[in-house]
């Protein structure tokens, strides 16, 4: 239930009570309460839960994390043993779950 999804702010309407905005989630647009993110600008990303923006996404922090991860990713080939893909519940054609040594697609 604590699901929250990042979306891009397309419009801000400060005439309403509480303040509302239009947010796009990969193309799907929703009206969202933006009362608690007064600093938000069109083009920013917000984290939305049950129709409310809980916070703006900090792009600088996100980039820092990604930079760290990509540096680690460069090392992955040297460090990593063979690891399985995600257990998405999918089965092979024979009805059994795919075995760990068969590569699987990341969903």
């Amino acid at each position: 239930m604590c699901l929250a999804i990042p979306g891009k702010v397309l419009e801000i309407d400060r005439t309403t009570q509480p303040t509302m905005g239009t947010v796009s989630f990969a193309g799907i647009q929703k009206r969202v309460c933006i009362e608690w993110v007064p600093e938000v600008k069109v083009g920013d990303y917000v984290l939305v839960h049950v129709g409310f923006a809980l916070n703006t996404i900090d792009e600088q922090e996100a980039l820092e994390t990604l930079k760290l991860l990509s540096e680690m990713g460069d090392l992955a080939g040297e460090l990593s043993p063979q690891v399985p893909g995600p257990a998405d519940g999918s089965h092979g054609e024979d009805g059994r779950q795919e075995s760990k040594d068969r590569p699987r697609r990341t969903p």
């Binding site: 239930m1 604590c2 699901l3 929250a4 999804i5 990042p6 891009k8 009570q17 509480p18 989630f25 990969a26 929703k30 309460c33 009362e35 608690w36 993110v37 007064p38 990303y45 984290l47 839960h49 049950v50 129709g51 409310f52 809980l54 916070n55 996404i57 900090d58 792009e59 922090e61 996100a62 820092e64 994390t65 990604l66 991860l69 990509s70 680690m72 990713g73 090392l75 992955a76 460090l79 990593s80 043993p81 690891v83 399985p84 893909g85 995600p86 257990a87 998405d88 519940g89 059994r96 779950q97 760990k100 990341t106 969903p107």
Partner: protein, 367 residues
Amino acid sequence: MKYVDEYRSEQAARALSAEIRKATTQAWTIMEICGGQTHTIVKYGIEDLLPPSITLVHGPGCPVCVTPLEIIDKAVAIASRPDVLFTSFGDMLRVPGSAQDLLSVKASGGDVRIVYSPLDAVSLAERLPDKKVIFFAVGFETTAPANAMAVWRAHELGLTNFSILCSHVLVPPAMEAILASPTNLVQGFLAAGHVCTVMGYEEYIPIAERYRVPIVVTGFEPVDILQGIAMTVRQLESGTSIVENQYSRAVRRDGNRAARELVRKVFEPTDRKWRGIGEIPMSGYRLRREFSSFDAETVFELQDITAEESPLCIAGQVLQGLKKPHECSAFGTRCTPEKPLGAPMVSSEGACAAYYHFGRFRTRPAS
């Protein structure tokens, strides 16, 4: 989708997996608090990316799972009234009460509707003045501001036909209850990222100090979870126990102050019973006295209901991390998502449903 896809990178996941394997020298038990994190862990097979000496146990952070049976029975009683329009998030409709669930009330002609936001319930109350509109206000700190805003808005609009059936729960008291238990197995926590988006993480600092347990505020994508585990393992291996923030793109130290302030105006802490666990002191919110006219339990003068859980269901032990779902004798046979005995089999965030959908063919034993 920006801020989602990059945190599902296979390359980053493999690198983190390697780092965790390299850092781990002994057995550790780590609990993720939030049901959304449980869902990610089971769906993406995160446990298969960890060394066998690391055990993940699944915490009580699924509001659908911990809402007491008595509250479900009260919801059913209110929703069955002809003058009522009962609104709820969709995942509460199939939670079994002692006799029936909300979906069967709807099937019998009750006006039960799913809403996306609590504000949608307020709009319905505005549009339909002849109906008593109730919103089923369950959830953790993440959802509390939205529910507080619904009550605040109804108050501003002067609505007399809107109320909430409130069963809010709070994360830190539940963590302390787990840590204080003599049967506790948990040595490190992944704290719930979206709860901390609202509340910040200062309240976890004394818990980490008192119980000498590392707490890492963690996001919800597979790479977030792996990074949270890597940070927790690093602390466990070095003997440190502090609060760290993996989910810094969404969580600030003091959370969202405006949202917290509205919660403080509308709600106050109260003792709360957790389904399968029992009462935990000051572990929930109730409406403040000045908003009691929006409290459905007051409006409908409901008597206290006592209800018995199924004796087969071990949800309480699953929610405290003491047992895994597939260790239950009813798992996947007498208890399935289509016919659940306990709430963790209902919600997609419930550990039992996650295991049923994604993990029931797994062979790795729960250590």
